[in-house]
């Protein structure tokens, strides 16, 4: 009986001790979290006093110290924490980062080495060590780490490419050497980056090395990026599906193929600007040749003729071109009749303009106009305009059809520069 009582008392005492230890530990953790949330050093110190063997409370104190711009104290706490929980790669990373902040690169590297040791196949450890080695000028080792990190975590690849580009001061060959691209996914990421930078030639070279077919979505995205970077020739080379198609060409000039929906800019081909003012439809009942033409119908306003339907056309600089087209008008009533205009796609400089369309009603007739490209012209934009009239505002009513657009290089025929 006595023995049972002693055993019971001991068990109760043990339980009470365990409860007290758990309580201290839990309360220390809570204080640690509180310290981090409020940047409170006393709370962090109290947490450590309660549970000095708990790495987490030392980490909490280190974080508070870092926030309060006291990395020297943060370093001490991280060092204690990492000694208590030496297999925690994140603790080593935080210690390394703090040492790096203090300018102690060798000690930071030692911490990052430990982080990699305990998490050798994860991207975050290799990425941090690679970045530090890069800043230390140990480029070979740095890129080995950075490449391994990007291979482990694909989302790091764009950052690696961007950093490499900056480091090589925009040299695509050196960047490619450093990146050591050996798969389609990475090569596509590099090609996209080059497109964004307007390096069309290099972008196309990378795309040629890709074994898997390029998706339509990627092709469109890169065409748009090349256009945004004003690399029109390379954008056109990527856009055309028929490699025999040579510039200059007005795509779908006879409107025999459907025109893309409004707001869909494919880069080349007809582009109907989103929510155009006039009615725009392909019309099979009226045509100069083929099966259809394009009808534009008006019922009052046409304030932005250039933002109606347009087409980018790749051309050569310092050449003379002729654009011809068919036009038919019906009850077209306005003080400022429509016409076609050509502008430089980069500088938006006006290069040429057609005569105004005949009004009010006229059967199909072929019109043409010529223009010269500037020394820097790579592409032009063919769009509508309105010939200045005495009216303001200038309403427009009626409709017209256009068909059979054609562009020719007439430099040798009519070299009027």
């Amino acid at each position: 009986m006595l023995l049972r009582s002693v055993v019971a008392l001991l068990a109760v005492a043990f339980c009470l001790l365990a409860m007290q230890a758990a309580g201290r530990f839990g309360f220390a953790r809570l204080l640690g979290k509180y310290a981090v949330a409020t940047n409170s050093i006393p709370a962090a110190d109290q947490a450590i006093a309660l549970a000095p063997a708990d790495a987490e409370v030392h980490r909490a104190r280190a974080r508070v110290m870092n926030r309060l711009k006291n990395p020297a104290e943060a370093r001490k706490s991280f060092e204690v924490a990492s000694s208590l929980r030496y297999r925690d790669d994140y603790l080593w990373l935080e210690l390394g980062s703090t040492r790096d902040e203090l300018g102690d690169a060798p000690a930071a590297l030692a911490a990052f080495e430990q982080a990699v040791r305990w998490a050798p196949h994860y991207a975050h450890t290799l990425w941090q060590r690679g970045n530090l080695k890069l800043r230390m000028g140990r480029y070979d080792e740095a890129f080995a780490d950075l490449r391994a990190a990007a291979a482990s975590k694909k989302t790091l690849m764009p950052s690696l490419i961007d950093m490499t580009w900056g480091l090589t001061r925009g040299n695509p060959n050196t960047a490619e050497q450093l990146l050591q691209i050996n798969n389609d996914s990475d090569r596509l990421a590099f090609a996209k980056f080059l497109a964004r930078k307007g390096r069309g030639k290099e972008c196309l070279e990378q795309l040629r090395l890709i074994a898997t077919p390029l998706s339509e979505e990627n092709r469109r995205a890169m065409v748009q990026q090349l256009i945004a970077a004003k690399a029109f020739h390379d954008a056109f080379a990527l856009w055309r599906t028929d490699s025999t198609a040579k510039s200059p060409v007005i795509e779908n000039g006879g409107f025999e193929e459907p025109v893309e929906l409004p707001g869909t800019d494919q880069g080349f081909g007809w582009y109907i600007v989103g929510k155009p003012e006039p009615k725009i439809v392909r019309d099979g009942s009226e045509k100069l040749s083929g099966r259809s033409s394009l009808l534009l119908g008006f019922n009052g306003e046409w304030k932005a003729p250039a933002d109606t339907i347009l087409q980018r056309i790749v051309v050569e600089p310092q050449r003379r071109y002729r654009i011809s087209f068919g036009v038919r008008t019906k009850e077209l009533v306005t003080g400022a009749p429509p016409a076609l205009v050509v502008t430089d796609a980069s500088s938006e400089q006006r290069l040429g303009q057609s005569q105004p369309f005949p009004a009010p009603t006229n059967n199909w007739q072929t019109m043409s106009f010529e223009f010269d490209t500037a020394p820097a012209t790579q592409a032009i934009v063919l769009a509508f305009t309105r010939v200045e009239g005495p009216c303001n505002p200038c309403p427009i009513f009626g409709e017209f059809w256009v068909d059979d657009f054609l562009i020719e290089d007439v430099t040798t025929v009519n070299p009027q520069h």
Partner: protein, 219 residues
């Protein structure tokens, strides 16, 4: 016995050949590896530190503490984000929230922060020249003889504000490290924290006060 004796040197020769071939192969491979040196010019590479390790945008891509920043990078912080760029011997650049800045630096001791919008503070060390600029031109340079700091707040369409404390003035974007919380546990506020801690403590101590459980199975 004799044939064994004759085969002995042959075996040793074969083993030696194998060993030498192995060494040669390893030396050859080592030489090839040494030839793959990366053709990068040594240059200053800066280090990014972000507040609370929250990622910011560097050249439109996400980057957090520890990222390397090369000259010409565009850094952008969002609301509630801030960052510091450590340029080593040149100095530091502190970027407040809602700021876009283009950072350029070289190995001859010059660095420049072109502020597109937001708030930036540069701190140039001695023998380095720090410059702060906007699209309206250079707004100031530090003296390399003494070093020093410059602080600028700018929004396009307005005149840039320069001077000590413009980034911490009321209405300015939050400077690095200035992201405060409402206090209390997890930012819940002090009263709520006291209530939570108090309730937790009371719950933990309850068994000590009410040891005789009236609804226990012993009754």
């Amino acid at each position: 016995m004799n044939s064994k004796r004759r085969n002995g040197p042959r075996t040793i020769a074969a083993l030696l050949f194998f060993v030498i071939a192995q060494i040669g192969l390893q030396v050859g491979l080592a030489e090839r590896a040494a030839n793959t040196a990366v053709p990068v010019q040594p240059q200053t590479v800066a280090r990014l530190t972000t507040s609370n390790n929250q990622p910011i945008q560097v050249n439109g891509l996400s980057a957090a503490t520890g990222a390397s920043i090369v000259s010409g990078a565009t850094l952008e912080t969002g609301a509630g984000q801030s960052a510091t760029v450590n340029l080593g011997p040149l100095g530091t650049v502190e970027i407040s929230s809602s700021t876009r800045v283009v950072l350029t630096f070289d190995d001859t001791g010059n660095f420049k922060a072109l502020v597109m919008f937001g708030c930036v503070k540069i701190d140039a060390r001695k023998n380095a020249t720090g410059e702060i600029a906007t699209d309206q031109g250079s707004q100031g340079k530090t003296n390399p003889a003494s070093g020093g700091d410059l602080e600028l707040r700018y929004q396009p369409g307005t005149a840039p504000a320069m001077g000590q404390g413009v980034c911490t003035a009321p209405g300015a974007p939050v400077p690095p490290g200035g992201g405060g919380t409402s206090g209390g546990l997890f930012g819940l506020g002090v009263p709520a924290t006291i209530a939570i801690v108090g309730a937790g403590t009371a719950a933990g101590l309850t068994p000590l006060f009410f040891q005789d459980n009236p609804s226990g199975p012993s009754n």
